[in-house]
């Protein structure tokens, strides 16, 4: 593997649009909320919006950078890059594109942006991007006809085998949401700010056994953005930069889009163990150096498997790790200190990176004392996903 050039780019601005319930921002439109997020990030950075000269997106984002650039008054439109594939894996790829673009001189200020308005209900798809009644693509012929319909089903299949192999319990899944809700209580941007109990979790509607409604993230609207530039350019801006220590997007063997035909040792995972190995190696850091973890939490098993995949415990020990409070703010590894997809907003991961930046600036609502390294890790999705290590 080639030598990685670490700390070659940094985050200098973060921002987001208004957040709302599913479909509520449709009157504004994807372009407008993306613009709101980028302008908010520019104001945060102290950067003139027309100086943005690159765009990095993921999740097949339909908001065209060419349109955004016109709305922003972009003077020199030097770069755009999109990461293919849906679900929760694309953020590190978008960060990698931004990182590479500024580190190599392709662009000066690249904004990573995601805008989402859920007029199509992702939570009721019969296949990726396919609503009930629509024709399915060829690749869905091996799943959709069998009722493998909900995004939750992908996690539920992994969760069942995790339970069978390691004795993981639904109480432990519940603890992931309990933690997210607890962290969202004082987050004014969060949608679900009431704490829940294990009993409330178990009483919630069955979505896809073993997963219940309170194992699932919300459906929501919103946009978020972060601005990436070089450490040299960052000196002229408003905040001390948060360094991107390293990024890694290394897919698992035969993973595709979270296939049921991965090799056996990869199946019960988020699909990022090779990315974890590469990320720690590139950063010269390990799990013990991480002060805050931002794990993609579309569904609760994601957090339990991420703890294992990213080396915070042995394989199979993610359940006990959360059961004894390990992911709480006072625990061994504070996880999703903003509430995450389960309680704050669901924008397919980018809001977790915003929280990582806030933690390292020292401005988070649930600030972890002296936090200096934050990890973002993708969830299950189209390969390759991976992770980002931020440091200050």
């Amino acid at each position: 593997m080639s030598e990685f050039r670490r700390d070659a780019a940094c985050v200098v601005g973060i921002g987001h649009s208004a957040y709302g319930t599913r479909g509520s921002l449709a009157p504004l439109g994807l372009g407008r909320i993306a613009l709101d997020a980028v302008l908010d990030a520019c104001a945060d950075a102290g950067l003139d919006a027309p100086d943005i000269d690159g765009f990095a997106g993921y999740c097949d984002d339909p908001t065209w950078p060419a349109d955004l650039a016109v709305a922003l008054g972009t003077k020199e439109f030097r770069y755009s890059g999109l990461v293919w594939g849906g679900r929760g894996s694309g953020v590190p790829g978008a960060v990698a594109n931004a990182y590479a673009a500024v580190a190599t001189g392709l662009a000066d200020y690249v904004v990573v942006v995601r805008s989402l308005i859920q007029q199509a209900r992702l939570g009721q798809s019969v296949a990726a991007g396919v609503q009930p009644g629509q024709a399915i693509p060829l690749a869905a012929s091996y799943t959709a006809p069998f009722g493998m319909a909900l995004p939750a089903a992908i996690y539920a299949l992994k969760a069942r085998r995790h339970m069978a192999l390691y004795g993981t319990t639904t109480d432990q899944f519940a603890e992931v949401t309990i933690n997210a809700r607890r962290n969202a209580v004082n987050n004014p941007d969060a949608r679900f700010r009431e704490e829940i109990t294990v009993e409330e979790h178990h009483a919630s509607r069955l979505v896809c056994d073993p997963l219940r409604l309170l194992d699932c993230c919300m459906e929501s609207d919103g946009a978020a953005a972060l601005i990436v530039t070089t450490p040299e350019r960052a000196r002229d801006l408003r905040h001390p930069p948060v360094s991107i220590r390293a990024v890694a997007t290394t897919g698992e063997y035969k993973w595709a889009t979270a296939s049921f035909n991965t090799i056996d040792e990869d199946y019960v995972s988020t699909g990022h163990r090779r990315a974890a190995r590469d990320l720690y190696h590139r950063a010269g850091l390990g799990p013990d150096d991480v002060d805050v973890a931002l794990f993609y939490d579309g569904f609760t098993p994601s957090v339990i498997m991420s703890l294992e995949d990213w080396g915070f415990c042995d394989i199979g020990e993610g359940g006990p790790f959360v059961a004894d409070g390990g992911i709480r703010r006072e625990g061994r590894l504070p996880v999703n200190t903003h509430g995450g997809n389960l309680a704050e907003v669901y924008l397919q991961g980018i809001t977790h990176l915003l929280e990582g930046v806030r933690q390292l600036r020292g401005t988070a609502i649930n600030q972890i004392a002296d936090a200096s390294v934050a990890l973002y890790a993708s969830g299950v999705g189209a390969s390759p996903g991976g992770g980002v290590l931020l440091s200050r």
Partner: protein, 149 residues
């Protein structure tokens, strides 16, 4: 409900294409045919254009015994019917590791059509092919499974 089949309602039919038509037709004839590399003999599912093991693009169909073991499974509420405590309105989706394959284990995602309630299925249970037809004629079927006890 011995004659009934536990399948989700309202799901789309597969796209019938040259790369998969043989397996739907084989299932209608009571066989489990899976794509096999014509060069090295590795089985693969779902079908792909190239062989992960040797790189060949030549392949043919290979008839397997049709048996396998449950690798994982879920139960999904079926809102089109009303259940009872003894027989809740749920269908299963199961991942089955196929027997008699060459190469990396081949798993198929399917339904165990004679399993009706969450106590009926376990990781490691053995199952066997039980095709369920689709389309207008009787020449195409989905490779579903039944319990082997």
């Amino acid at each position: 409900m011995s004659d009934a089949v536990n399948r989700p309602a309202g799901m789309p039919d597969p796209v019938v294409a040259p790369i998969n038509e043989g397996m739907w037709r084989a299932a209608a004839a009571g066989r489990l045919d899976v794509q096999r590399c014509a060069s090295c003999g590795a089985h693969r599912y779902p079908p792909t254009d190239g062989c992960y093991r040797c790189g060949s693009v030549r392949w043919d169909w290979s008839t397997l015994p049709g048996t396998g073991t449950v690798y994982s499974y879920i139960w999904v509420p079926d809102r089109t019917r009303t259940g009872t405590p003894e027989a809740p309105a749920v269908y299963n989706v199961a991942v089955v590791t196929l027997e008699g394959t060459e190469g990396d284990p081949a798993r198929i995602l399917s339904n165990v059509i004679d399993a009706w309630s969450p106590d009926d299925l376990h990781v490691g249970d053995r199952v066997a092919l039980a095709p369920v037809g689709f389309g207008d004629g009787d020449d195409l079927a989905l490779p579903c499974f039944r319990m082997l006890s």
